[in-house]
Symmetry: C2
Subunit: 452 residues, 2 copies
Amino acid sequence: MADITAPPSETQLKSLLRALDDLDLPALTALLRPLSAIQVVDVLERLDVHERAVLYRILPKDRALEVFEILPPSLQGDLVGALQDDAVAALFADMDPDDRVELLDELPATVAGRLMHGLPPDERELTAVVLGYPQRSIGRRMSPEFVSVRPTMTTAEALTRVSAGLDDAETVYMLPVVDDERVLIGVVSLRRLLTAVPGTTIVEVMRPPHWARATEDAETAARRCADLRVLALPIVDNETRLVGILTVDDALQILETAESEDQARIAGTEPLRRPYLTAPVVSLVRSRVVWLLVLAIGATLTVQVLEVFEATLSEVVTLALFVPLLIGTGGNTGNQAATTVTRALALGDVGPRDLGRVLLRELRVGLSLGLLLGGLAFAVTSLVYDRSIGTVIGLTLVSLCTMAATVGGAMPLIARAIRVDPAVFSNPFISTFVDATGLLIYFTIARAVLGI
Amino acid sequence: MADITAPPSETQLKSLLRALDDLDLPALTALLRPLSAIQVVDVLERLDVHERAVLYRILPKDRALEVFEILPPSLQGDLVGALQDDAVAALFADMDPDDRVELLDELPATVAGRLMHGLPPDERELTAVVLGYPQRSIGRRMSPEFVSVRPTMTTAEALTRVSAGLDDAETVYMLPVVDDERVLIGVVSLRRLLTAVPGTTIVEVMRPPHWARATEDAETAARRCADLRVLALPIVDNETRLVGILTVDDALQILETAESEDQARIAGTEPLRRPYLTAPVVSLVRSRVVWLLVLAIGATLTVQVLEVFEATLSEVVTLALFVPLLIGTGGNTGNQAATTVTRALALGDVGPRDLGRVLLRELRVGLSLGLLLGGLAFAVTSLVYDRSIGTVIGLTLVSLCTMAATVGGAMPLIARAIRVDPAVFSNPFISTFVDATGLLIYFTIARAVLGI
């Protein structure tokens, strides 16, 4: 049996592209048949919008739905634009409400409106429930289709209700228990129901629930679902009434997107909304140019600092030789601290109230690093140049590392405290700040030691 | 009902710490009672090793197991060291084989051996199966406890087998279907079993399986489980025989650890093996100093490049003013490209064979960014300084951005092709490389334009 999860081979890909160019439909159908859904997605991601629509139309109906469901929302949006309305309406009606909302966010308002209108009334209502919550809230990403049970039911009655809900509910493996006011009072796993002695009531087998509020940040709720290692997390409103359910696979997708955004922002780019190879060059430029410009404008601060010390520089040109090395090391130290603390924040290991402890730790770490690097640099530079240059470089590294680690460690916590995304606020800004401050420290120490 | 998932309040934390200092056990018990397991973990992460053992011993037995299971493996290791042997043996026997293996990796060999020896024979065998696979392989992280069904069984027979396996199996919600040679031939969900018409056989309701090989990289397999949005992925040996199962919650944990490692390496630090606040300062220093030193040594390249151009520098000191700005912008451009491509690699959107397409895209992106920034810099610098300096800065930015984006985009793919972790190989190295090359470009252009 062939491995159906490996990416399609180079040969398969080339034959497919050739058949696409020739619009050789029988060949295309034959080439697509042995591919699994995930392999078809892999192929689709390598095509342009037009080719993608052609290839997609060739897929048999059930294959098409399977492929559509695991396609990134941005490519789903492209396809919806390229396909005929009736095909889209059928696809749209078959999707889960939470996936549907994600796709709606990708589409132009008129297309979204037309699609919503074409839904059966009950599906339209469920989608509207999800759309009612603010963007980025877990209410937007939860599924409003769930099976809940009552504490007074017997396990057999609960199993009957599960059977009735099997077709629609997002999951039946974790069942929320609610009282007469729909308030969440417990959870019970399908596994527990199956092992229960006949006649047991739900109240005897349920466990106290974990939950998230529908208005809560989607990433926070998804992280909790992951940390708790549960298959699903009930979502409640402000009165703790059950309104939906977050399944672990949706939690996973949320966390993945959040990681991508964090990583992009740490490097000073806007996150791409689509797979790399399908993003037009102009979107790649757009995702980077603003940050690059902002950072370059920030970096003019270093030009100004250096101008102030231009006289010192022209007197001892040797000082200029170490500028890239020193600011590079300062930047690296700051980035290390910022990344470590940003990650600890994302994992919930530290919070803004730990600012004092983090500052103290990073001060000690930075000082240790500075003493190690500074000592080494003093020894080497004293040998290669002279002792006074060695002293300047050594002392600069000690102060620079201490300053950079402390600032780098504090920044993400300050960002969180003032409710800015720590990833947006951190690494590139820290580099720029550390560059300018570092030069100031360097030339101040140089003037003092060299007596100029 | 109080929110049991929010972190404990500052007041609760302070009272707990005070009671711990006073060793006031009744007060501690009372303070711990209202906390959920996840809140207790939150408290434990803020304590030192000794306090942690004291607090843990106070927990009632079932609470203790619940807390232990969601504790990070490094802290589990600490606790095992601090608790008495019989308490540890009981805990250890209650864990799942895959979690047990993770804990064993954390412990000194003698302690690990003693614990393995204390296990009941069947549990010991299961753990040994998992331990037989190479480190970082999915075989190490899979669960060897699963329920499988045969294609010839009726759905009712399969359900009976599920009921029998309910207590031990890691999951019963996704069932692998195997033939007489234990070869994986399909999967069927519990949900599908429950909806089947009586008398249906498994072969009629099973779907073709996705799977991972036990020797495959754990992160690759976990990513596949996440991408496919399945609750569990069957794990097979080289003959496609079923040997275990990867559940989505374990996949999630693997991906989370991998993300942490990638983010750490992108910033040039070694990943921390424990939560930030519990890591001793000396481990923080150790996780950063090697990289910092390697990068600083790499950066001496910039000192050497500048030495070559020292005469040019002392003739036109103004050139020194722009060094931090230029290398900063080059580094940012390179990092943006490297991070975008590293992420695309991690998500499977590109592979080493896409090198040509990525190079071409990054060349175009870099050139566009260079023309935008260079044009702007030319205009501003010509006004503030003079047209010849403006020309130097403008031309440098165009070449620098093009070079940096192309190198930055190619690096992660080259790293993957030569089987090095792209995250280890990328951002800080790119910065160092771009710094040195950028200075070379800058001074070459300056000499040509200024005629010196």
